[in-house]
């Protein structure tokens, strides 16, 4: 494998890892606060449809992004009401929302555009176009690092850089702010938080709202940056891979970045079976590469690679008095 091929695969890795990263961090906020969210997929799908539709109708990708975030937050709000206010089963609420999203996105897009649940292709200002970072052209001649900077790091859409910046931000919020401490506490021992006179319900809703924002970014990235429009079921299970990445990263933000990059790398490798064969000298079936993220996650869950301990109060509605 030559250097140019490696760069191309890394380039592809970053594009494929970005939606995973947004969704993974979204899940992180929610689960750290004690709300399991299996509905990342559905939120991404809703955001993808809303952002593509609004971006097409207004011609502005920013309006589309806002619409995507709002739609995703609406879904997150429903999940919050069901699982926090009414203390419903979080998994069932998430699964139900996934089904709702799968159907309603196609229905709305069909009603709006009549193209079979697809949105019309976006052009120009209605799309996040790739941006070239400063000095990328000039530094291209520098050996090894120049092409790396030009091919892999530069030339992505704005949302990719936002995704990467969200990682240190999340770390800072969770581990260096009062809000973050309380958020983590509410996922471990909500009764203690309540005793301290802080609203458990309020904190959990705040976490779910952040989940909505991040899933909105993930969906908008897929529909307006990676692709130029929404298509039926276009998230293709990425919400679940993000959940797997979250477990693999053991609910830590920086580890989540590496987990998503690793899973993105596997997806990028699966696109180049010829390269894999040239490197390992054996023909590896593509479905095996596709399944690798899940295999790794099972290994982590089974305790082979360290120990994955979910937030202690995760999945349980908080009841103030019995």
């Amino acid at each position: 494998m030559d250097y140019a091929t490696l760069l191309q695969i890394l380039d592809s890795t970053i594009r494929l890892a970005t939606p995973l990263l947004f969704a993974c961090l979204a899940g992180l906020y929610s689960e750290r606060a004690g709300i399991f969210d299996i509905g990342l997929e559905g939120k991404m799908l809703m955001a993808a449809m809303s952002s593509a539709s609004v971006a097409f109708l207004t011609g502005s990708v920013w309006a589309g992004l806002m619409a995507g975030i709002l739609a995703s937050m609406l879904m997150a709000g429903i999940h919050g009401v069901a699982s926090i206010t009414f203390r419903g089963n979080q998994l069932i609420s998430g699964v139900a929302l996934n089904f709702v999203a799968s159907g309603i996105t196609v229905l709305v897009a069909q009603r709006l555009f009549g193209q079979g649940g697809r949105t019309p292709p976006l052009e120009g200002e209605a799309r996040f176009n790739p941006i070239t970072l400063p000095f990328a052209e000039e530094l291209q001649g520098v050996p090894i690092l120049g092409p790396l900077y030009y091919e892999v790091i530069s030339g992505h859409s704005l949302l990719v850089y936002i995704a990467v910046l969200t990682v240190p931000l999340t770390w800072w919020i969770l581990f260096r702010t009062r809000f973050g401490l309380r958020l983590r506490a509410v996922g471990e021992n909500p009764a203690a938080v309540d005793t301290a006179g802080i609203s458990v319900v309020g904190l959990r809703f705040a976490a779910v709202a952040i989940t909505g924002i991040l899933c909105g970014l993930a969906g908008a990235y897929m529909a307006t940056a990676l692709q130029a429009g929404f298509g039926r079921e276009m998230t293709a299970g990425r919400g679940y891979i993000a959940l797997a990445a979250l477990i693999f990263a053991k609910w830590r933000p920086v580890a989540a970045l590496w987990a998503c990059l690793l899973f993105g790398f596997f997806q990028a490798l699966a696109l180049r079976p010829d390269v894999v064969q040239a490197v390992v000298q054996v023909k590896i079936p593509v479905p095996f590469l596709d399944a690798l993220p899940y295999v790794l996650t099972v290994l982590v869950l089974a305790g082979f690679v360290g120990k994955a301990i979910p937030p202690r109060a995760g999945g349980e509605p908080y009841v103030k008095e019995r």
Partner: protein, 331 residues
């Protein structure tokens, strides 16, 4: 009493006419969806053409998941739809179970052969059409490398890829053909993001013309090719209009004609195998104002010459599905 009889008679006549009226044709679309801009949409256009010309109505159904196939077929047959047309090889198993239970209903299946006395099987010589667009790709390529992106990895899609590779090699024996499949499950028909990444990967390997035979995934391939400034080739329907000036041509598979014919024959549908190839306009390539600037007269002349030879039988394009091997490419 006589009045009662009259009423009964009237009711019976009504019931009879209603019975005739419900013998309307039906069509079932496969998982790619009615508006996949490709295979299923072509079938839909054929049905619409029939409806407009005859003023008739037809029933339609879109598959949502694998498990519905047999049930959907039985439903339509029980409801009196005749003939029942289905698009896609995946209906093969379900139809061979259902067809014997409804001997008076005629079925037509596209892309698959089902051996039953009341089934018409329509298959296409996709390798011939793919050969022609392969020639165009070989002639249009400046790098000498072209790409192929298939949907689900099944023999039928390999047949597309094999015909394409042969066409490329016919005009440029030294050309490299990069072949990729999107996946091994039906979800591979509907993953535009993966299609786009595959296209970008092929471009990195030097490909400057990419042929997508991947249903809804192809939308992503065509989009990525247009973004990256290389050419693409559409499939099944004429997809030249999707990115004017950036889609070299489209391999036409006249699924619309097959559906139209089946609807037109109605209950008199002739059972058996119906092969649609170049000779009877079942496949071909698309030329319109969107790709006129991309196709030179020389290219068109070369392709038309090959088409004439295939029609006369002078040139035989190898069919992957006949022996599961391909002389021009390895899968």
């Amino acid at each position: 009493m006589t009045l009662m009889k009259q009423f009964l008679g009237a009711a019976a006549t009504l019931a009879l006419t209603a019975g005739v009226a419900t013998a309307e044709p039906a069509i079932i679309f496969d998982l790619g969806g009615k508006f996949d801009k490709s295979f299923n949409e072509a079938a839909f256009n054929g049905a619409e053409r029939w409806a407009q010309e005859t003023g008739g109505t037809y029933k339609e159904l879109e598959m949502q998941d694998e498990a519905q196939r047999e049930q959907a077929l039985r439903r339509l047959a029980e409801a009196g739809s005749n003939p029942v047309v289905m698009t896609g090889f995946a209906f093969g198993d379900a139809l061979s179970k259902v067809a014997p239970d409804f001997p008076d209903t005629k079925f037509a299946i596209i892309d698959m052969v089902v051996d039953a006395p009341n089934v018409k099987s329509v298959v296409f010589n996709e390798h011939e059409g793919s050969y022609l667009v392969g020639m165009m790709a070989g002639l249009a390529s400046k790098t000498g490398t072209v790409g192929f992106i298939g949907g689900m990895d099944i023999p039928l899609i390999r047949k597309f890829g094999c015909g394409y590779a042969q066409g490329v090699k016919a005009v440029n024996p030294d050309a490299t053909v990069v072949l990729n499949m999107t996946g091994t499950t039906p979800a591979a028909w509907n993953d535009p993001v993966k299609g786009a990444e595959l296209a970008k990967g092929q471009k990195a390997q030097g490909a400057d013309v990419i042929y997508a035979a991947a249903g809804g995934t192809g939308v992503g391939v065509l989009q990525a090719a247009a973004d990256e400034g290389i050419l693409s080739i559409g499939v099944d329907s004429n997809q030249n209009y999707m990115h004017p000036g950036k889609v070299l041509t489209s391999m036409l598979k006249r699924v619309d004609n097959a559906v139209y014919e089946a609807f037109k024959e109605g209950t008199n549908l002739t059972p058996g195998i119906n092969v649609m190839g170049l000779a009877n306009d079942g496949v071909g390539y698309a030329m319109d104002e969107n790709n006129a600037s991309l196709v030179t007269p020389e290219m068109q002349a070369a392709v038309d010459e090959a088409a004439a030879k295939i029609k006369s039988g002078e040139l035989v394009v190898h069919d992957y599905m006949s022996d599961n091997t391909c002389p021009a490419a390895t899968f």
